[in-house]
């Protein structure tokens, strides 16, 4: 009989490959402090969207729940923070917590509805929930400021310098992604994957599949809310577009670009997508057109995305799910 200790370590294996990641983070930090302020802002946005994509990826790659409305929770995070400052009069530092909480609450309410459905109906309902969020943010002038959003209510970046805030955001995101990693590797993560792969099987073993899916949904909403909060602080503003369909599509594209069924996929996808969307439009005006064709090419020729490519080239951890 095989030694159980070796085997369980296989299931539980959650070691993060710091040898690879630490130099990368140090390099980013160095770039952040040495480069001009605009670069720091770009790095901040990349980090924020990487977290957003990673939270969406928890649902998509592990729970096989395709959400077409994940931006709602980004938006709820941003507005949760902003409204806590503007309407509740909290100091911004304290309101930081309100954003993710509001997003998680939204995830709980919408999620409770959405997880009653499966596959394509689930996707459509998440989309509808997000559009409702967007409409409310867009139309409720008295409370949310409507389509002009809320601006000028605080010093952007909590008064930090561009580089200072980039550093804060980067490490917040690193911690959040680590937390997601721990979740994926935990028994809860195993359950999320199990329900994602065969719901009926999981139920026949005695698992309440809906509870697991709802938990995953709330977790994903919470982390998207962190991303939204960081974004609202970065610009000192909140707009309905933060909860719009284009951000949702951006997130989906990032996950596919990076590679489905891989934890790092969403993160890599966000980095690549943000870099492209920062630099390509300066050269080619019709950036969405290019993106559309790139996406088509990826889906038709390279279904495992960037991480799949890395693996084929022998880089990255093997079986790094």
């Amino acid at each position: 009989m095989t030694d159980p200790r070796i085997l369980w370590a296989q299931v539980a294996r959650a070691a993060v490959n710091w040898k690879l990641i630490a130099p990368l983070l140090i390099a980013v930090e160095a770039l952040n402090w040495l480069a001009p302020a605009s670069t720091s802002t770009m790095l901040t946005e990349i980090a924020i969207l990487a977290l957003f994509a990673a939270s969406l990826n928890l649902l998509m790659s592990f729970g096989h729940m395709v959400s077409f409305g994940h931006a709602a929770y980004f938006g709820l995070g941003a507005y949760g923070f902003t409204l806590a400052v503007v309407r509740a009069g909290l100091p911004p530092e304290a309101a930081l917590l309100a954003g993710p909480m509001v997003a998680a609450l939204g995830g709980l309410i919408f999620g409770a509805l959405c997880v009653r459905l499966t596959e394509i109906y689930f996707a459509m309902l998440t989309l509808a929930c997000a559009q409702i969020t967007y409409t409310v943010l867009f139309q409720w002038y008295d409370f949310t400021g409507g389509d002009t959003g809320i601006t000028g209510f605080m010093t952007p970046r909590l008064g930090l310098s561009e580089a200072g805030y980039a550093s804060f955001a980067l490490w917040t995101v690193v911690l959040a992604v680590l937390a997601l990693w721990v979740i994926v590797k935990s028994p809860l993560g195993l359950m999320i994957r199990a329900v994602g792969q065969d719901r009926a099987r999981a139920e026949a073993l005695g698992l309440g599949a809906r509870k697991v899916q709802l938990t995953a949904f709330v977790i994903a909403a919470f982390f998207a809310g962190i991303a939204g909060t960081l974004y609202a602080v970065l610009h000192g503003s909140a707009f309905p577009d933060y909860a719009g369909l284009s951000l949702t599509l951006d997130g989906l594209i990032m996950v596919v670009l990076g590679g489905l069924n891989s934890f790092a996929g969403g993160i890599w996808g966000a980095v690549i997508y943000q870099l492209l969307s920062t630099f390509v439009p300066k050269v080619i005006h019709e950036w969405e057109l290019v993106l559309g064709f790139v996406l088509l090419g990826i889906c038709l020729a390279m279904p495992h995305g960037f991480v799949g490519l890395l693996k084929r080239l022998g880089l990255g951890r093997k079986g790094g799910k």
Partner: protein
């Protein structure tokens, strides 16, 4: 003897098609019971009804003297009904070991836990179970890469983890060689007897049925044709006519 499962007037139809018409069945505790019948007889539908996987089922289902008629699959599983599927449904993209661990996590009820301690706690039992079903050396392989027979074995092992009082096996030996079939079912029978569980299984191999089952129910077109000991069933002319003799 007091029945662990008591099905009364179970009916299930899909639109105009009646899959089960008035099935009544008592399964005594500790019995090894076989469901046989030609394809389309409703055996798998009946199993799915007992496991709570179908909606719109008429009739009454008593399990351990409790009315469990409208309960959901997960609730039934927690009350002690375990099952395997006709078309093996292990978690395909996970390793064999992860599958087994998933079953352990579910059985422990700690599905929302973030602590990996349970992996260590249950490692020994998980490995022992893999040994039992003969998959110890495949622990790291993805289930999708396993043969159908191995998947069936894995599923059986996973169902046992929940320590079900009633075990439902839907064609556990499909896709196996004759030798494998007998080996697997003998192992199942020994295990079930030793642990005092009740077994209902759907099986097409009559030799296996005759050897393993203590009682047999023959179903035809959604109804019970005959029930009795293997010897009685073998001697039943009606059964001979529609099933055993029917060129199977």
């Amino acid at each position: 003897m007091d029945p662990i499962l008591s099905a009364r007037h179970i009916r299930k139809s899909y639109g105009a098609f009646v899959a089960l018409r008035d099935i009544s069945l008592d399964i005594p505790r500790g019995e090894r019971h076989a469901l046989i019948g030609p394809n389309g007889a409703g055996k798998s539908t009946f199993i799915a009804c007992v496991a709570g996987q179908l909606s719109g089922v008429e009739g009454q289902m008593l399990f351990k003297d409790e009315n469990v008629t409208a309960l959901q699959p997960a609730a039934l599983a927690r009350r002690g009904i375990g099952r395997t599927f006709q078309i093996s449904r292990a978690f395909l993209q996970m390793s064999v070991l992860e599958n087994m661990m998933a079953a352990h996590v579910i059985a422990s009820g700690r599905w929302a836990s973030l602590s990996r301690a349970i992996y260590a706690e249950r490692a020994e039992r998980a490995c022992a179970m893999l040994d039992t079903v003969g998959l110890a050396d495949r622990a790291r392989d993805r289930v999708a890469d396993l043969s159908l027979g191995d998947r069936k074995r894995l599923e059986f092992g996973m169902a046992l983890v929940g320590e079900p009082d009633l075990l439902l096996l839907d064609e556990p030996t499909a896709g196996m060689s004759i030798k494998e079939r007998h080996a697997l079912m003998e192992m199942v029978a020994a295990r079930v007897d030793a642990e005092g569980r009740t077994l209902i299984f759907v099986e097409h191999d009559i030799d296996v049925v005759m050897k393993i089952a203590q009682r047999v129910t023959v179903m035809v077109r959604g109804a019970v044709l005959a029930a009795g000991t293997p010897a009685e069933i073998k001697a039943n002319d009606e059964v001979q006519a529609v099933y055993l003799g029917g060129g199977h």
